[in-house]
Symmetry: C2
Subunit: 410 residues, 2 copies
Amino acid sequence: MPTISEKGMHMPPSPIRKLVPYAEAARKRGVHIYHLNIGQPDIPTPEVMLNAIRGIDLKVVEYSHSAGIESYRRKLAGYYQKNRIMVDWQDIIVTTGGSEAIEIGMMSCLNPGDEIIVPEPFYANYNGFSTQAGVIVKPIPSSIETGFALPPIEEFEKAITPRTKAILICNPSNPTGYLYTRAELETLKSIVIKHDLFLFSDEVYREFCYDGHEYVSVLHLDGLDQHVVLMDSISKRYSACGARIGALISKNKEVMAAALKFAQARLSPPTFGQIAAEAAIDTPQSYFDEVIHEYVARRDFVVDALNRMEGVYCPKPSGAFYCMAQLPVDDTDTFCQWLLESFSHHDQTVMLAPGSGFYSRPELGKRQVRIAYVLSLDSLRKAMECLEMALKHYPGRLPMARGLATEVEA
Amino acid sequence: MPTISEKGMHMPPSPIRKLVPYAEAARKRGVHIYHLNIGQPDIPTPEVMLNAIRGIDLKVVEYSHSAGIESYRRKLAGYYQKNRIMVDWQDIIVTTGGSEAIEIGMMSCLNPGDEIIVPEPFYANYNGFSTQAGVIVKPIPSSIETGFALPPIEEFEKAITPRTKAILICNPSNPTGYLYTRAELETLKSIVIKHDLFLFSDEVYREFCYDGHEYVSVLHLDGLDQHVVLMDSISKRYSACGARIGALISKNKEVMAAALKFAQARLSPPTFGQIAAEAAIDTPQSYFDEVIHEYVARRDFVVDALNRMEGVYCPKPSGAFYCMAQLPVDDTDTFCQWLLESFSHHDQTVMLAPGSGFYSRPELGKRQVRIAYVLSLDSLRKAMECLEMALKHYPGRLPMARGLATEVEA
């Protein structure tokens, strides 16, 4: 029997999805699960999108242009311009989800063995895409104590080697919800220019900024046009994860020419999704106002509930719809599995994403979980009740609440 | 300015799409173009698919399971079983088009530097996917004189090195339309077993077999279960290229476990497309009967018209909807560009795919073109008239019709 590839062996399984078999077993036992483990919002997809799909009058579902349907690219450029991201429609390649934007961006810019610096914790699948591309992730830890702010510039300087080719950020951040300030992005800019690096910026949570905080895109900064590759997606913006429509955006013509060749090899992004995405641009502002209002209420509730539990700490994030909390348990991988396998409270339990999967060095996330506050307030209330109860009964609960720093370094 | 990756530089542009700018310029001059350059059929997508899309009643367009929607996978397994491919639904991962099935298959089974043997001419994008994966294509030429039959077994044996990990075939073949016989596949089986290789089989044209010839899948052969990775797509079967739904199929559990990890990294295949694809399985047999009838008429017309042109030779294929023809011209890359840039006949011209893009060594395809007979008989008639006229006026026409062998070796 022929053997599979090394990448096939080393490719990390999705930390968000690896607990799925335990969840399925729990469901079969009649336990209701609150899914806070995955960024699948319950927010309805805008009607304009669904109506566009229902009104489709194609005779033949054809390939689109490899870079996407021109009318969609033009409208999408208008969307970015409204967000003060001054790109032309030809600076955009429509991708199959944000995932493909990251894949194509990495393949276009980095050679196998090249290094990419990523503040951790980071979106778990960056590990997977890096493995695919043969790229080495060089993590720089951000700390729960500072709410996961950008690590100090010295940490970047220390991490840079002759193989460093890019820095990758997610802003607002999955998994931390952290929103980078203009000052932090200016710091990143100086490093990127000084060392002639690419700056990959995953900005799929752009719409989700709270408390009046300013959203700053790396394309709002002057002088970075040749360095920036922006990765985007409509999945979260319009609660349309299944449409699989994203975008790779750059003013760097060489990057775009290379990216187009990868896009041509896979022929085209999905036609149905593009039709829905084009219609989505007409989503009224009232939709976002309502959604933001809802997420702020959910965040406030969850973060408050967490911090009131004994031994739990959760910084209050300013963006996205995630938070990272520190729990008084021996190991959140074990704890999250135990929640599904051995625990229930009124026939209910909660599914969380163990922190380890969001770190390049899993031990750093051993006490942390990511919580996606993507359910209704009522469900979140019940989920937090389950979690509080579970922490009281979990056999691996730490004997006493210790200091934060100790936990993190443990 | 940071430099792009080596893969980004070496990635081949799509040979099928590289003439597009010339076509756009011709259209602007008012010239009508018959598109025989791309496998985008004009056949209507089945109504059951479009109705499923129009009837969508989702509230939230969610991610599906990374391996695809379970109900679709179950129904799809039934489709394969009807085709005597005895797979279980768990042997199937739904992919974003056949393209992603090839990408994931290569990444799961081959290391960078590993070699894959491919009879040439082959589907141009195999070059691109191999570049992406860092895999080396080892071509074995098949010949227009034998209608592009499987090269003799000695050619495979000669090409095998310690780095050989897989053989890749497309059956029925894009670009040649050749349909492998059971005897040829048995030959392949013996090589695969003897050298412990993977056998990748791209069978997206399964439905398109003509003249009563038997379609044989590599999964119809005994004893190959651990070696075969089948790549499939609904694009051609249901004339739904833009749905971007394919499948990776294998009975080899290790391959499937690795493939699932790559599938998880990109989250899920498109939801809309999967809904359409699930409905498509109920497409009535009468749809296929009509389509096959139409393609046979088109093939017969085109192949006959080609062979009646002076100096042109085109073997008659038994499957898919392509043929490769040899033309009495100096270089088909130049000729195909000239057709768009400098020629028109009653304000019409024809767009063909130069043969060079279907060979690992482009010079082998220098006299050949691929013709996709995906237009109506009436359009094909006009397209063949254009081609015949063009061959009379093309300045690079070879001075006399020479023997076939000379052409091929030239």
